[in-house]
């Protein structure tokens, strides 16, 4: 009987379990989970902080998910893999043997070696439900919060805190917020909404040194705070593979079947890197859909099926205080833009195809655009000038509409 082992218990692991079970029902699945919770999706923690959801609703799968899929979960940390004997060694020395293994270890917050960080009493990351719980406990109306990093995590944390702190200040070395997915104009609209909702920004500036409840900024300014959140970025948890000589770049290298360079070992989710279908570059695309699909793909292939995840692209749907931005793909192409006072639609095309877009304040049916990127649909087959203004199917040919609406897809 096959023994499937999955290290990690996030969305990629859930995808892997469902992928395996979509293919076979015999093998035993063992999940090794460092976090002591049933699977949940990490982006939910800001909604949890905001109390838009609770622990019960956050469960990614219904109770009984593991049992009904023939899974056992070991709540321990995996410390190494013995690839020749094919087992995983846990923190307490226990060995879990596998016929095929999926590494779905995700990523960890990156904390730069700030001088004096050890003097800060209340310093948090914002990655896990435990982080959110700890932060929530500490929050109160009379406390100032400083968040280092104006990326997705830092800003969702700021929104989650909302008005439950005296003040929230976000600083980032970059000159704009969400610098990895938005350009200046789009970022400005989002920033304005955040500022209108009471979030203060210090951009192009970041802390260099801490002294108790004071941060000394690069600009020389001093910021007082009671609670510090560090959200400067994440690193793929790739050590398990790197330690046994597997190919690791910024993330674990996997092919389109989810296989690593080590025999019988697969990997999926935020710990991996793959080829961005929109620009052909190798990168870590640490987003939830890719984690699930990557996990599912790995699971199917581990169980003896054959499927591939051929078109991962970066895409983000992010909103704060009622304004929403959606982005997808890459931006190195010809720009088409339509904008109004509070909305921006930016599309990037290359070689007659859509490769990326940013939509701020106008995201109805954005998936129609996303699919143009993921399916590499030639823009010559449709009326792109119309489609850019309204995402609907009138811009497509009657034939493609017939395909979409007249048959099983």
């Amino acid at each position: 009987m096959d023994k499937f082992v999955i290290i990690g218990n996030g969305v990629a692991a859930a995808g892997c379990i469902e992928g395996i079970r979509s293919t076979e029902n015999e093998g035993r699945i063992t999940v090794i989970s460092e976090e002591k919770h049933p699977v949940y999706c990490r982006p939910l923690i800001s909604y949890y902080l905001e109390e838009k959801t609770d622990r019960e609703k956050m469960k990614y799968r219904a109770d009984g998910f593991y049992e009904s899929n023939g899974c056992s979960v070991i709540f321990k940390k995996a410390v190494s893999i013995d690839k020749s004997k094919r087992h995983v060694i846990l923190e307490d020395g226990e060995k879990v043997s596998y016929t095929s293994l999926c590494v779905a270890t995700g990523s960890s917050p990156f904390v730069p070696p700030f001088e004096g960080l050890d003097t800060v009493k209340h310093c948090f990351s914002f990655m896990t439900i435990d982080d959110a719980e700890a932060l929530k406990k500490e929050l109160s109306k009379d406390k100032d919060v400083l968040i280092i990093g104006a990326g997705l995590i830092g800003l969702k944390c700021a929104e989650g805190i909302g008005d439950r702190a005296k003040s929230v200040t976000v600083c980032d070395l970059a000159g704009r917020i969400l610098s990895s997915i938005l350009d200046d104009d789009c970022a400005a609209i989002m920033q304005k909404r955040l500022e209108d909702s009471g979030i203060a920004f210090m951009l192009g500036d970041s802390a260099v040194k801490f002294d108790g409840n004071k941060a000394i900024m690069k600009s020389g300014k001093t910021v007082k705070f009671d609670i510090l959140v560090i959200a400067v970025g994440v690193r793929a948890n790739s050590a398990l593979i790197r330690d046994i000589g597997g190919n690791v770049n910024r993330g674990i290298t996997v092919d389109k079947y989810g296989k690593t360079s080590v025999k019988n070992i697969y990997a999926a989710g935020d710990c991996t890197e793959c080829v961005d279908y929109s620009d052909g570059m190798n990168k870590v695309i640490a987003i939830m859909p890719n984690a699930y699909i990557g996990g599912f793909t790995a699971g199917v292939n581990m169980a003896g099926g054959k499927t591939e995840f051929a078109n991962p692209i970066p895409m983000n749907s992010i909103g704060f205080f009622g304004i929403h931005a959606m982005t997808a793909g890459s931006y190195d192409g010809e720009l088409f833009e339509d904008r109004s006072e509070n909305t921006i639609r930016r599309f990037f095309t290359k070689d007659g195809r859509l490769i990326g877009f940013m939509l701020v304040g106008c995201n109805e049916r954005a998936g129609i655009y996303t699919s143009l990127i993921r399916e590499r649909i030639p823009l010559s087959t449709l009326n792109f000038d119309m489609l850019r203004k309204t995402a609907d199917f009138t811009s497509f040919s009657a034939e493609s509409r017939k395909h979409v609406f007249g048959g099983e897809i």
Binding site: Y47, K52, T53, G319, N363, E375, T394, V404, F405
Partner: protein
């Protein structure tokens, strides 16, 4: 599986499907009471121009990317029908970002909603299909 299919050759753009959908999902017995004087949030939408029109609703894909992309695990496949657990949805709109057909939208409460083939209201056969005056929307096996 029976699904909803539309044929733009017969769609008149009358929008009755939208009203029938909103009514069927209102849980009320009287259409006037259910819809009069308020914005409606149907799960099927007519789109088109002067020349053509057609209704768009969830295609209930065999390999639904919305299910795979939902960060809350709120969208699931129930015997082929793609359904939303309104309780779990946090309104992150990732499904809107990925659905190739633009078939999902927020309801009046900021929670995602989509066509569930009238499996959760009393009707049984989709209300849009029953009410279409020109057979432009059909519910059948293909």
């Amino acid at each position: 599986m029976k699904r909803i299919y539309v044929n733009e050759e017969w769609c008149l753009g009358c929008h009755l499907c939208e009203y029938n959908c909103a009514f069927a999902n209102s849980g009320l017995k009287d259409m006037v009471e259910a819809l009069k004087g308020k914005p409606i949030f149907p799960r099927i939408h007519i789109e088109g121009n002067e020349k053509i029109s057609y209704a768009v609703s969830c295609r209930h894909c065999t390999d639904p990317i919305c299910v795979k992309s939902c960060i809350a695990g709120a969208i699931s496949n129930k015997d082929g029908v793609i359904v939303v657990d309104k309780n779990k949805c946090v309104g992150c709109m990732t499904c809107i970002l990925v659905c190739p057909y633009g078939a999902l939208a927020l309801n009046e409460n900021g929670v995602m909603q989509k066509c569930e083939l009238c499996t959760r209201n009393s009707d049984g056969t989709p209300a849009c299909v029953k009410g279409c005056p020109n057979n432009a929307i059909v519910f059948e096996e293909r």
